[in-house]
Symmetry: C2
Subunit: 611 residues, 2 copies
Amino acid sequence: MMAKGFFSNVLYVNLSEKKATVEHFDEGFYRTYIGGSGLGAKILFDSTSKTTDPLGSENLLIFAVGPLTGTKIFNSNRFEVVSRSPLTGIYGEANCGGYWGECFKRCGYDALIVSGKAKSPTYIYIDGDSVRLEDASQIWGMDTFSADRFFKERYGTKSQAAVIGPAGENLVLFASIMTGGVHGRAIGRCGLGAVMGSKYLKAVIVKGTKTVEVMDQKGIAALQKEIAPLMNADLSKTIRKFGTTGGVEYCEQIGNLPIKNWFQGSWPEGAKKISGQKMADTILVNNYACGRCALRCGRVVQAAGGDYDEQEVGGPEYETVGMIGSNCLIDDLTAIAKANELCNRYGMDTISTGGVIGFSMEAHERELITKEDLGGIELNWGDGNAVIAMIHQIALRKGWGNELANGVRKTAEKIGGIASEFAIHVKGLEPPAHDPRAKMSSALQLATSNRGACHLQAFTSDFDEGLHIPDLGVPQMTDRFATAGKAESVIRMQNLMSMFDSLTCCKFLLFAGINVNQLVSLMNCVTGWNIGYEEFFQTGERIFNLKRLYNTRLGVSRKDDDLPLRLLTHKRGGGTEALPPLHQMLGEYYEIRKWDEFGIPTDAKIKELGL
Amino acid sequence: MMAKGFFSNVLYVNLSEKKATVEHFDEGFYRTYIGGSGLGAKILFDSTSKTTDPLGSENLLIFAVGPLTGTKIFNSNRFEVVSRSPLTGIYGEANCGGYWGECFKRCGYDALIVSGKAKSPTYIYIDGDSVRLEDASQIWGMDTFSADRFFKERYGTKSQAAVIGPAGENLVLFASIMTGGVHGRAIGRCGLGAVMGSKYLKAVIVKGTKTVEVMDQKGIAALQKEIAPLMNADLSKTIRKFGTTGGVEYCEQIGNLPIKNWFQGSWPEGAKKISGQKMADTILVNNYACGRCALRCGRVVQAAGGDYDEQEVGGPEYETVGMIGSNCLIDDLTAIAKANELCNRYGMDTISTGGVIGFSMEAHERELITKEDLGGIELNWGDGNAVIAMIHQIALRKGWGNELANGVRKTAEKIGGIASEFAIHVKGLEPPAHDPRAKMSSALQLATSNRGACHLQAFTSDFDEGLHIPDLGVPQMTDRFATAGKAESVIRMQNLMSMFDSLTCCKFLLFAGINVNQLVSLMNCVTGWNIGYEEFFQTGERIFNLKRLYNTRLGVSRKDDDLPLRLLTHKRGGGTEALPPLHQMLGEYYEIRKWDEFGIPTDAKIKELGL
């Protein structure tokens, strides 16, 4: 009998052949790779090769849930999308809250694996009884809010849609996949929306009604009772009140907030104007939550779109405020909210969008691109209207936007000369708004994340000082500028995050104060497994290494575990005078990981992990 | 009236149009750019663009002498060749001793600028009366020793030939230009022989008989009297006795000698077997000197060619012993001498040859290339026969040699994966046998040299401890691992070396003990100028910055002022446990140079230097 918490069914849809098939995986597979990110990485690794074109029909787009998804466990309602990224060319993944994950799982599947390429715009409809490919010609070109409404009207409020907008259709290489309409949640990073667009796949609609069974309901209830008070802890309350943007001013103070394309040190007046506190005082209308979440970090703000019907939409998160706001010197919260809304409508990652626009502002200032190149848009620091104009251009691949749609790395290569000196990315992915000069562990997490510059695959950004997970198994980090012990902490966190992304559940549980053993117990209660603390971490380690092996097969090695020169050599000031000694930290990191001098997992490690 | 020491005539030869023209430059031009390297850089900068194909007819190949060339001043008989390098794609230059420089100058020219492309093999013959393009079909394919003999027989012993061998003809990207036949001197670095080959130019024969006039013969005589005893100082004697290879064992002890593709720390027994002392005891027959030189660092050794008539040939220098010897774990001096002879015959840089072969040995050991890839050659560490077999393959562009002929950077790119992790080069140029982990100033000199990994454009390798130039204007470097003050020293040395390469004279004068003021006085005695100490250095600074600007126009910036990861991250041991903190040193270097954060000379600096 299959363990509980998942259905052991994986749904394959081949768009070229218009064929759906179901495959069963045994429990051993799930114990080894868990679900979500781990399951996706395993299938991607086995079913694609180093010549797979990210935008070709042979690339897979994998939607996967984990054992916790769809249970009543706090903040468990997430899912993962995995593919080879067209933006970076390497392993790509992103995960998402909202309601789609649970609804998909309740169709009776743990994963949907899309291959091939439709001949014309198509969407996939899945419920507990059927899988259908439907014509999407009518809605091709529609923005994500409208498409979501379209599907809600067609399939009812209990259906959930994951859709792409014009950015995905136009193969913007950092296009997102959106769920939830105006109160949306994004599969933001790595351009997975472009993979969807390349397959002529407008949407995946799910309408699941099955019950997700768990093995030990009482055990879960007991644990939930333990955890429930955490949802009203101080930090939880702050998150509910100010969302993720509550930390903008603090981040500015310690030098963590990117300012002026990662160049400038301080910007206190600006940060004040774009903070979560300011948002609460001005455009904020309400908050909203993903399924099973009491933290409610989502912001509802007054829409500033102008051209659209909606009065209220999802507001910008911390990363958006950082990348489209301070990174472009935009101190107008309404402009940021509008830019955010547009990115969501078009289906486009706000982090990368802010990254490429900040870069362009600097290139414009340095006269490497002209107003003519920019199609007349005066892309000056702090000009919110110019940012908004450029967002339209990117999504529609018009003028300069057609360059920026390829991400900052390729745009810089196109410009040539010194442009790549201030093209801020790791492995082709524009970093989130966490400056590694402010926190040494951040340097390591950005350099070694399997999807390029990412804070979430280690999530040490808030744990490098202050926060701590008591049973993480490593000493608390207290000095954000220290390097000693950071490699070990980052590795431990990466292995843990691999489990979060596979189970799948929200990392903000750690803000609330959940500990590792509680998570292990929850997993065991759901599945009926008896995985111990050490096996739990080793499973995370296996998944992290599997993704690394996917990347090393593509040629990734130490040379790629690097940071942009600006972040290694330019002292930004403003709460930090530090420059991360990356080479040294990386050496320790490899040693602990048992990777060789080039960052390749050793045979011994591969064997130990059963890979 | 023109100042003395040069003729103010520059000879242009367009091979496409079969046309020779002469241009006169005024004295101001020479005071600004001196001659040699400075003159070449200026003409290359002005007459080529960033789209100039290094192997295209539009590239220039500039042979240039300086004010000191052809005078009776010690060690002044050198010349410079300047072009865009096909190996690195950036500024390329190399200089050479022997007798060609003086003989060319006595034809009445300061520079020969070759452009265009001949339709069939051609050589240029120049004497005081005429410039002729002659058919070289008969000798196309001939090795450099034979070609040299051929021209000596045709034009007499007072003629001098600069010739390419099969490597240059076959466009081996690190082909050299050779002078002097069996007792030869090479224009070794940057693949300038391939530029010559691309133009179908087999040789430039010169037979000058004019007198090089100087302004103050008495002043020169007085200075020469001052300097003469230095030629018998201790270090001078050691050079005469053991050549440049006298330091092999010491370099091994301090971790300066590359061993096993720059990986291994110690190899004392091996170093002993390939040292200059060992050479003196075994294969050494005699020594030889360039014109006007009393140091006589050239080695004459028993030929080990086997297939050739010669009984005695030029022996390997330190760089050759380091790169073909220890770098490939070859401890057989006869094999190294034979490899050296073959490189000279084929016309191929021994440093790059050792670099690409050491790299291939590692790639072979790591099973990234197979015996089949290698055409059956078992390229194992320490196998002298395999090295010799591979040298033939490279020069003839056969099998794997056809890859290696493109240099280590391109070969690594071709192999892909981790290969570039151990492809040791800077800006595409394989480094000479001076490990930057042994001397921190070496890190900076390799990273910032305008022609890629080069020790001669700063020449601090022997001045980072021990040797000192008393009037250099910066404190003596005493701790080779210290970084403080190194940026300033390296800059000072680079500016001085720019003058050596422009004047042109041999840097070993500094080993003998010449000081800056003596050099300045010699220059003024020749020319009649009254250039002071500060203007002297500023002129060197101008020339160095001019080359930098040539490179920045091609897109070179801070990102390229880098070292191979192995030299930054792998502690080799064996006399050094250090890893150069390059980012930090480079920051100081840019600041002192008044280059911006990206390594681009600031407008203020450009203006100050009159560029």
